[in-house]
């Protein structure tokens, strides 16, 4: 069976090149090195048609970078992305360009992601016009139908973004993404900036649209309760690597990786009252200087000398479940 989207060994390195002074200093023997951040480290991900996959991690774990590579905003340093069996790793290739239209992104900040000087008509209608998707209809009719799809009034088309509330703007972002008739949506923290009651509305919108338009989602978030609700499968990332991947049900019932366990423990829940918080110790390490071996070992309660020296690989521990931890080998 072929997947809708498949990444293999997908990596992204950001390199801060040395400036002239540093290069000269190095020539005369100073120990200056280029700063390299391995933002995403060999991530494999397969997504089936119609699936919702949650990508969870804390800040700096590379989840947004991963989403940006899939949408073609950032070129990958290594590895491949296949969409419907075609290699789209090169965003400038014909395959890459046609896939870029089918894969759309919804951003976190509904205030920064809309051009404040464009009217809604142009924000939503510009891309379909350029790509010739209006099929005879006028732009106004098309924009009106998109606005209705996301629960906004068609009469809003001549307004500017500042005339909308946060939740409405996020709906505009969705309308803009839907306007080019995508098959796949990458939602990067799409509800993180919204109030609880508005968040519920936008999540419902995502679920409705998925049914109506047969969409597939990659749902990037740090909020486990949101991901638990909307996803079929979840991948947990820590400092650029996937540490665990499982179906939502299994992951939340029986987290395998110590980091996943810690995350699940930390999530505040409505039904846990007056609890004693028992936090994982330590900070999230800087991706500039990640720990050796397993990235989580300085914070892990079960770390051994093997964890410090060797890097665990993501291994299948049960059908459809994978975890990158040495603890699974000993037992």
């Amino acid at each position: 069976m072929s997947f809708l989207l498949e990444t293999k060994n997908l990596s992204k390195r950001f390199v801060k090149h040395l400036d002239l002074a540093a290069r000269m200093a190095r020539k005369i023997g100073a120990e200056v090195q280029e700063e390299i951040v391995q933002a995403v480290d060999r991530v494999d991900l397969c997504i089936n048609q119609g699936e919702v996959v949650g990508l969870v991690g804390e800040s700096g774990c590379g989840k947004s970078t991963f989403g940006r590579m899939i949408t073609g905003i950032l070129p990958p340093s290594e590895g491949t992305i296949h969409y419907r069996g075609k290699d789209i790793s090169n965003a400038a290739s014909p395959e890459g360009r046609s896939a870029a239209l089918k894969i759309q992104m919804i951003f976190q900040d509904p205030f920064a992601s809309l051009n404040p000087r464009m009217r809604v008509r142009d924000i939503v209608g510009e891309a379909p016009k350029i790509h010739g998707l209006l099929d005879g209809r006028s732009q106004d009719d098309y924009v009106a139908s998109m606005l209705e799809k996301v629960g906004l009034e068609a009469s809003y088309a001549s307004r500017y973004p500042h005339q909308f509330s946060g939740g409405q703007r996020q709906r505009l972002g969705v309308a803009r993404a839907l306007a080019v008739q995508p098959e796949f949506l990458v939602c990067d923290e799409a509800v993180a900036a919204l109030d609880v009651s508005i968040q519920a509305q936008v999540l419902n919108l995502f679920m409705d649209l998925r049914e109506q338009l047969n969409l597939t989602y990659l749902f990037i978030s740090h909020d486990l309760s949101v991901v638990e609700h909307i996803s079929n499968r979840v991948q947990i990332m820590y400092l650029g690597r996937v540490v665990e991947s499982a179906s939502t049900e299994e992951l939340f019932k029986e987290p395998n990786h110590p980091y996943t366990q810690a995350l699940l423990n930390e999530v505040p829940r409505l039904d846990l009252r007056k609890r004693n918080y028992t936090p994982v110790s330590g900070e999230i390490p800087s991706p500039l200087d990640p720990p050796s071996g397993c990235h989580f070992h300085p914070r892990c309660p079960h770390a051994t000398s093997k964890c410090r020296n060797e890097m665990p690989v993501l291994k299948e521990i049960a059908p459809g479940r994978a975890s990158a931890c040495f603890l699974n080998e000993s037992s």
Binding site: E58, S59, S165, G166, G167, Q168, D195, V196, S197, I198, Q199, A200, Q201, L203, N204, M207, D208, H222, L224, S225, V226, E228, H229, I230, T248, E249, A262, L263, N265, E266, V267, P268, R269, L270, D271, L272, R273, K274, R275, N276, Y277, T278, P279, V280, S281, E283, I284
Partner: protein, 324 residues
Amino acid sequence: MPESTLDVRHLRTHFFTRDGVAKAVEDISFSLGSGEVLGLVGESGSGKTVTGFSILGLVDAPGKVVGGEILFKGRDLLKLSEEEMRKVRGNQLAMVFQDPMMTLNPVLRIDTQMIEAIQAHQNLGKVAARELARDALGKVGIASPDERLRAYPHQFSGGMRQRVAIAIALLNKPDLIIADEPTTALDVTIQGQILHEVQRLCRETGTSLIWITHDLAVVAGLAERICVMYAGRIVEAGSVDEVLDRPLHPYSKGLIESVPSHNQRGMRLNQIPGMTPSLLSLPEGCAFRTRCPKADEACAGMPSVQKAEGGRHVFCHHPHREAA
């Protein structure tokens, strides 16, 4: 019953803008005992931050506290002069903000800032003040506080900065800390660490705490009592268990039911229709009635505070009755 640390009565804070008067806080009352943790919950624009600012006397023009009393250990803070208020603020009464950089000066070292805060309120020498600062850093879980004292704020991570801000709030052993969304900008594991420290410190020192947040789940694990705010008013108040398990006000009920973990996975979430109205154009009567499933003609008239069992208050014409 012990005397309450803070007693807010009929507080009203209005903002006089060009487009009209925004009643950011309208007639709210609550009290807080010694060592108690109160959760003040609401969505953006509900007036929860302005409530905190009003208590500390930090409301700037065009805003103004136009009525009510804020009794802090028996003294009405609203009647104090600015000079007297300065002696209370940062001393017996401290605030932690959402963004720690609002507390910290980016161009001063941590020790300079902390010693300044101590010497403003206590007659202590520099060496003694420094020792106090170091102990405070250690208390909030910062490793090697001696070295960290000499660092600048930009050398800390977000979570560490928030710890420093909390340490500064603790310096003069306040009786009350007002924490305004202090963990909202932090990662889950870091939030857990901060909640752990705050909980421990409140238990150890008997400091009262007002925790302002939009996140019901955080309050559920931390607070004893909870006040839910909507459009400038407290619509429901009571113990955490009572309010979260058996909400009386349709807004609190809707808010709790829209939390994903409260819903069956993959099913549509229960949502509150519509959006928060602008404070400048609130509906007549109950501000929630345009979004409320139980609203009728009576709701066009202003509801009154109704008392329910267990010391609960609800501001509604048609509160949910206990499930029969």
